[in-house]
Amino acid sequence: MSEPAAPEPAPVLSTEGLSVFAGSREILRRVSLAVPEKKITAVIGPSGCGKTTLIRAMNRMVELSPELRIEGTVRYRGRDIYAPEVSPVVVRRRIGMVFQRPTVFPQSIYENVAFGLRLDREEEDAVERTVVTSLRRAGLYEEVKEDLDRPALSLSGGQQQRLCIARALAVNPSVLLLDEATASLDPIATQKIEEMLRELKGEVSIVLVTHNIAQAARTSDVTAYLHQGRLIEMGATSELFEAPREKLTEAYITGRFG
């Protein structure tokens, strides 16, 4: 007799029938998916397929665009993040986001990472410990430890992006959403961030939106393919890139369109 299959662990984040409208245009169409805990989930698809909208809906960033209307449900550990009693600020602390362009503030390296902690009015000792830990987790500390008071804008593009990741990690999120976070970086800087993400996934669940198919293949555990706002296919990255179930996925990942 075969062993019963191990139950699927509960997803950290899930969407059910998630649609996002811009006026009458449906950018996302009833997307239902589950983001596994402490894994890297890649979201791929052609430009305009709704990748960015999907992750912006995952931490209520879509609400910052008044022209967008959302239907369906997004759950974090089973709880509806759009429920009236839930604060979007709290949601965004649990589910952090890093953008394509590094968004460093014109302040020191230290202050950039300490930014979110200052809002919590934490003691300076605690702030300093968290700043150092976060810089280490983002793989940047060794490169900047000599002078944390340096202006953040003096860092290279790749370092600035890792600084943004350190700032997102400083408030100890459970989920980190990355929207094309390496798109503006050179291959070496990209490789550093990918290495860092692989280290980080033991602690944080990561959702990586990327138009770089090879990056999704080499970095993620699970891949979701979106096409014209619909979730076409989602599964183990190794399986999806070896033998995708859907013709649309096959056409996209083999470069036949998109």
């Binding site: 198919i213 090879a214 293949a217 890139f241 070896e242 033998a243 995708p244 996925t249 096959e250 990942i253 083999t254 470069g255 036949r256």
Partner: protein, 242 residues
């Protein structure tokens, strides 16, 4: 109407496919010529098989080089990746087919016309050759057509070839015991019989690679639960049906 330009990887896969078709034709030709060489129907058969075996080996090296280049340059995925890995594996099987054809031709070269005439009377050996060549043809045709359907039952057909191999082996041993076959001819026949059995295994391998290339699943997972056993009926003279 404008013609869509091929991407570089499509160009590379197209060239790989041309090479694969050529090496498959050479392997099919080699095994046919090898059979002709011991049946005595083609006097120069053995020499032709040796040349074909060398050509197959040379083409195998070229195909391996092309596959590695495609992987290195284009990081292929999905069907492209499966086509390349399946081509690498199929090439190895085709190379082995060429080598067994050479081994058979080598034995045939040592046989006298009288011995060839004696061998020609063994009906089971003729059938063994026919079945094996048919399996190789089916597997290669499936590869050419990118169609897993024709190879769905190839494992069962190999079971029938194994059965025929055993029957022929006992027949050869029996004939050696009653001295209707000399030890020299008997030993040659045992080897040829064994080579056919191995050739059929390579046909199964090719069928499996084709199934994987086309469907993403290995043969054991895509075959039908109830299969035809067409050769088995011929070998045993029995039919599973009413």
């Amino acid at each position: 109407m404008p013609i869509a330009e091929k991407t570089p990887i499509e160009e590379g896969l197209g060239q790989l496919n041309e090479h694969m078709r050529t090496i498959a034709e050479l392997a099919e030709l080699a095994i046919r010529k090898a059979v002709e060489s011991y049946e005595g129907t083609n006097g120069s058969g053995a020499a032709e098989v040796f040349t074909l075996d060398q050509e197959i080996f040379g083409l195998k090296l070229e195909i391996t080089h092309r596959c590695v280049e495609l992987i290195a340059r284009y990081a292929p995925v999905a069907r492209d990746l499966r086509t390349i890995t399946a081509s690498l594996e199929i090439t190895t099987d085709l190379d082995r087919i060429g080598r067994y054809a050479r081994d058979i031709a080598q034995i045939a070269r040592e046989l006298t016309p009288e011995n060839k005439a004696t061998i020609g009377q063994l009906r089971r050996l003729t059938r063994m050759g026919e079945y094996t060549i048919r399996m190789i043809d089916v597997a290669i045709d499936a590869f050419r057509a990118r169609d897993a359907e024709p190879v769905r039952n190839i494992i069962e057909e190999d079971d029938a070839v194994d059965l025929l191999h055993d029957q022929l082996f006992h027949e050869i041993v029996g004939r050696m015991a009653d001295r209707s076959l000399t030890p020299e001819v008997g030993a040659s026949l045992i080897l040829i019989n064994r080579y056919f059995e191995r050739l059929a295994d390579h046909a199964v391998n090719i069928g499996d690679h084709v199934a994987y290339m086309v469907t993403g699943q290995r043969l054991t997972r895509v075959k039908r639960p109830k299969s035809g056993l067409r050769f088995a009926e011929e070998v045993t003279g029995r039919s599973d049906g009413p």
